[in-house]
Symmetry: C2
Subunit: 216 residues, 2 copies
DNA sequence: AGGGGGCTGAGTGTTTCCACCTATATAAAA
DNA sequence: TTTTATATAGGTGGAAACACTCAGCCCCCT
């Protein structure tokens, strides 16, 4: 049986060392490359077409999520496992929607990583037990099909631009000046954004904007 | 020459593996124990009295900073190096004030960790180059002694309570109701907090509150 | 030709927040 | 004991944000 070819990507060299030392202990696995950011990871995956890619979600240049989306549109058969420290539910959901096969928490035991690689290589999914309840929740929410928690994707181009500027703590007037549009127009955009995202309250828009700044 | 005795502490097993695999490569170093949280780390340091302790700043139960403070009051000669992913300036300052000998970023090369251990063992300090400008800044601000960038510690008990509630996106009226005080009083607190923290602008207080929510 | 969606601008009114200021009571500190 | 810090509460004025409505313009699609 052939070895499982893997590439790993994480912006922390120390973390890469850890993953390497764990995976190398298993003779069934071969690490053929490693990357320090999403850009590098994507290129290496294209070049080597490994069986499995172990990606950190947060990386410089390109996020791990974006890497998955790209390799899918490139029609590469590499299966992706996310290795992250965040239990955040929406991040998990995004990861799963993007088409990942695994979601492993860094706080989990080292054995989990080995397990996940093997499982995913066999075509199975592998989710850290600590967040398996998110999975259940997803299944339930899929049943009442039309709910669809509102997300950034529902926003138009201009609305995103405005939201982006809000996240930078600009006032409505400043945004208006910056985009060469009227104060009132910006207010309307704010209003529409709030409605689309189902937000209310003086600061909820700002909070949301800050929280999702990178995605804009 | 004796080996350098080390204990390492990090809540991510994978990261511990990484550190271990790097340090074990050097015959001069001996890892005598490892911990998964601050509590464990503190006890192991007391018990083994190692030369150097490599601590993560963020750990369950007890933070790394707290561990340093404790071992100092216990009069243990172990020197502490912080290993963290955060470049946050105030965290760095806190770390240095607590009495640490090293501050190494996880994003740095693995060689840095080795270097830091050896340097610190020789009684020297070791700070990641990426944040050395913080050091310079500290020196400068020590000269004009009274400046002291304002921080949460300047706030009174009540002000913290208010700020805590602000971080939860409560409005002034809601905070007033919750604390059984007048609307105007809360407004005064907001005002005082803003002044103490040197903030201005409609949302800066909220932003600050959210950013520092955990510390309240 | 019509409808829908998106961007623009405006009107009107309310709520919330910000920045000062004054003032009293109390407890701690100098 | 006087001073200082803290918590409390009120007043005024203005800035910013929120909510809702209406309307013109453009573009795309059926």
């Amino acid at each position: 049986m052939d070895k499982i070819k893997i590439i790993i990507a994480d912006d922390h060299p120390m973390m890469r060392s850890g993953v390497k030392s764990v995976l190398l202990a298993d003779p069934q696995i071969e690490i053929i490359a490693e990357a320090k950011d999403g850009d590098e990871a994507f290129n290496l995956i294209l070049k080597h077409q490994p069986d499995v890619a172990l990606l950190d979600v947060e990386m410089p240049k390109i996020t791990g999520l974006e890497v998955v989306r790209r390799i899918q549109s490139e029609n590469v058969k590499t299966k992706v496992i996310f290795l992250t420290m965040y239990k955040a539910e929406d991040m998990f959901n995004e990861a799963m929607d993007s088409g990942a096969y695994g979601y492993v928490l860094k706080e989990n035991a080292v054995e989990d990583v080995l397990e996940s690689v093997k499982s995913v290589h066999q075509g199975k999914y592998y989710i850290s037990p600590l967040i398996s309840d998110y999975l259940v929740k997803r299944i339930n929410t899929q049943n009442d099909l039309k709910s669809k928690t509102p997300s950034i994707n529902d926003l138009t181009q201009t609305e995103r631009k405005v939201l982006k500027l809000i996240s930078l703590d600009k006032t409505t007037q400043q945004i208006a000046d910056e985009l060469f549009i009227s104060y009132k127009t910006v207010e309307n955009h704010r209003n529409n954004i709030s409605k689309k995202l189902n937000l209310s309250g003086t600061h909820s828009l700002v909070k949301f904007a800050i929280k999702n700044r990178e995605k804009l």
